[in-house]
Amino acid sequence: MINVAAAVVVSALLLFVLGFGYGTIPALGPALDPGRGAWTASSGGQPVTSQRLTISGLDAPVTVSFTSQGLASINAGSTHDLFLALGYVHARFRLSEMDAERRLGEGRLAQLAGPSDVASDQFELKLGLLRTARNEWAHTTGLARAALLAYAQGVNDDIAQVRAAGNWPALFTMSGVYPQPWTPVDSLVIQGVLTQELDYTTGALDYAVLAKSLGAANMTDWFPVLPKNAQQPYDPGPYVDAPLTPVAAGFASSVPRTSTVASATTGTVTAGAKSRDRSDQSGATAVAAASLLDQISQLPAGSIHHYPDSNAWAVNGPAVSNANGGQELALLGGDPHLPQTLPSVWYEVALSAPGYQVAGVSVPGLPGILLGHNAHIAWSLTDTQNSATYYYTEDVKGDSYYTDGAWRPLTVVHYTIPVRGAATQHMTVKITAQGPIMNQVGQTMAVDWMGNAPSDDLGALLAVNQATDFSQFKAALAGWHAPTQNFTYADTAGNIGVIAPGYYPQVPAGCTPWEPMPGTGACDIDGVIPAAAVPQAYDPPGHVIADDNQRPVTSAYPYYIGTALDFYDPGYRAYYAHQALSAQAQSPGGSLTPASIAALQNSVTDSLAGRVLPSVLSALSSAGLSGQEAQAAALLRSWNDAMQPTSAAASVWWTFWGDYLTTVFQPWWVAGKVPVGKDPTDLKVTPGLAPLDEDLEAWTLGDQSNAAFAGPSGHGPNTARAAIVAAFKTAVTHLSSQLGGAPATWTWGRLHSRSFPSITGANGLGYGPRAAGGDPFTEDAADGGMDASTGPSWRMIAALGPDGVSAQGVYPGGQSENPASPWYTNLVPLWWDGEYLPVPEPGATAGPTTWRLDG
């Protein structure tokens, strides 16, 4: 009987686990079934061949052609058919990616991945990308609405074909969770995910935590509104000082159009709430901020904005026209630096329909071209980095909160979170006039995030795609509210420009938006910077626009746009690019060609090293150095500031700079007990904390006896020179223990690499790590740690002149998300070697492989 019982139990367990899965173990029976399971994904990995396909919804046949590298060109008889075909093509090559992205934004990731992603789902449902997307869809009209509907049809055509054939991408068969039909709201959620990744920041929370630990005086000094170092803003003024553009109350609160509003009372504030002790409040705010940071640290990598690393430059003038015999009047280079993943966030394509001809990179999940060119203009984007995430501490009692002198009902929304392998979770989101409540530990905290303001980004983008000059370009962007982006521009008439549209929220005087503010109503957003006054430039006399995430305006700018803690780049890339381009643009015999832009995009020169090393070497010259230290110093003396993987000096420099920051600031962090673990990326003393780089650079160059050098005990190095010597010796010790005793062998490539991880997180589906050059301060930026995974996600160069626009580009990855496809990583070697491919021309056949899509 025991044998029977054992056989029955084992058989039942085996069949149950294989048939239904257990916990996060998928149902392996159907998943691994060799006839119907994940093996069938191999069909999507085959080389693409010419074929005729029938998909529903088309009004007329559409042609899709591919280059041998997979770059696509779609030619249709109408924009309806064009966007439908784009949705189909996106889904054919990126369905898993699209589904994962919408799941991220809609709080449905745990349904796919299990309990580990419940925290992400809770965060997203609280923040409200889905609520905002639904609100946006309700107001979407015109071409954007038609495009979203057609696009969704195209995606669903592919889903229907895959469902009929049973050859799902392996992610679905292995998880047993299959995609639901695509809707326009899904596309708007993906727009929201991008907005979040570029625009949602924790600067105010970090400020609150740091202020409690370091004290107000140090915060004011070390994390000022304006950076301490010399920078190169692209908009030097003069500035428009116009009245704020008013916004409706709660315009970014993400309150859904239909929601459950809890009953509540209106009354007077309680004495306790009114007379709250200031120091208690500060302490509670720091606790709440730390709690929220803790939650955010559990989000998938790249979910919120951290690294300021994009480049976009435009040049015109004689240096361009003379170099090319008048055939080119302007050049534009753009390389947005984002998490580098496989598959990429981008899909390269040319789109052609009557009245709509555009090429560049699209975002799977969205119709249109985000960065690219048409027959008249080219454009690229960088993140503006302005403060767009305001936090408010709220007085909440039951289902009411106190604001504007009265208790008001919270908006309440109920959600369920399906969890793969675990019980479904339920959660309630409460929303104030300021925005959704994100945290109730220590203190109730709501967030007023501009990404929750309904924004007709798609309408703006489609209008940009069709613009023919700068005035149309600016007009097209009038409806763009978030994320604030620097749109760098060039046209065939030889004009260049940049404008940073979007909501720059303003609060009444006396309020402090760089830290959590009271939700009493006194510090509510009372308007945004008027469109005419946002940072911008057009045909600057120097013929150069260098837009690299630096603070775009000078101290004379009349509006608040954020502090040094708002991830503005410390300005090294902008300075270097401006110097390099200006040197040619402003010299009589100057010459600027696409090759000049390519060289700059691939440059690994660290301009901070160029600024600071003379002072460093001066300090070291009078220090007593050991033989090994002297060898390391000699490496720096003969170095050209290039972070090449073969450079030993690069290792010495970067290790030194990190140790220099630590030598000066870490004692303060330790004394103040900064809770670094709550948000290591933004609280730890590293070169990634831009204000500290700016401070230390400024002190090293001009304030060598700053009080910070003395440390909290007063017994620190006291001067920059002493700190430099101490840090240098520490760096040599670090390198010696890590790489051996011979400084000449300490090459940067032994310390530093790049990786392009799979979006699934699965080991073996990514690329790298591979020894690589660059650092966060170089044009070819490498961010995210010593194994960098954030950097140039797309490099484009456009040459514009009387003959039109010719563009070349490349991104690290491939057009297909299928790891078995020859187009999965085929573009990586080109990207790595700094090479480019021609961007397919709109309306032309891209290559020999062609699909004919029939309705």
């Binding site: 056989a7 994904a41 790891p819 078995a820």
Partner: protein, 156 residues
């Protein structure tokens, strides 16, 4: 896993039955080949139909036949050929895909990676084929155990 002690002695009498004459060598081979071919063909074809549990069903059938002690149906006579047939049957659709030029090796690597096991094609292929064998052997164990238990109950 099946308890080896619960399985019939290879080539010996089925549990609870007296020894029967062993089939002639040629017939034995025929039985085994037939069991193998039927299992392989059926498991392969049913895999295309999404019947992923076919190896288990054929394991149960093999176990039942083996338990009844029909000529040539001992462990080596039918259970092992069916198990091997199930493995081959499951390999067949993958082989067909490979013959059609589909990138099976890379797909296997992806499957392994997504499954959280070492991302090598051989690991995924081996794991899948073992799953077929495991099902077949588990099914046979179940049938044999139930049959022996029923027989013992009947004797009482």
């Amino acid at each position: 896993m099946a308890d080896p002690a619960a399985l019939p002695v290879p080539g010996g009498p089925a549990p609870g039955r007296s020894a029967e004459p062993r089939p002639a060598g040629r017939a034995r081979v025929t039985h085994r080949v037939a069991a193998f071919v039927v299992a392989a063909a059926a498991c392969g074809l049913l895999a295309w139909a999404g019947v992923w549990f076919a190896p288990f069903v054929f394991g149960v059938a093999a176990g039942a036949l083996s338990a009844r002690g029909l000529r040539g149906t001992g462990l080596r006579g039918i259970v092992l050929p069916v198990a091997v047939g199930a493995v081959v049957g499951w390999a067949f659709p993958v082989w067909v895909l490979a013959l059609a030029g589909q990138p099976i090796g890379a797909t296997a690597r992806s499957i392994a990676a997504l499954a959280g096991i070492p991302p090598y094609a051989g690991v995924a292929v081996t794991a899948v084929l073992l799953l077929a064998a495991l099902q077949a052997l588990c099914g046979a164990w179940l049938a044999l155990s139930v049959y022996r238990s029923a027989l013992a109950f009947g004797r009482r």
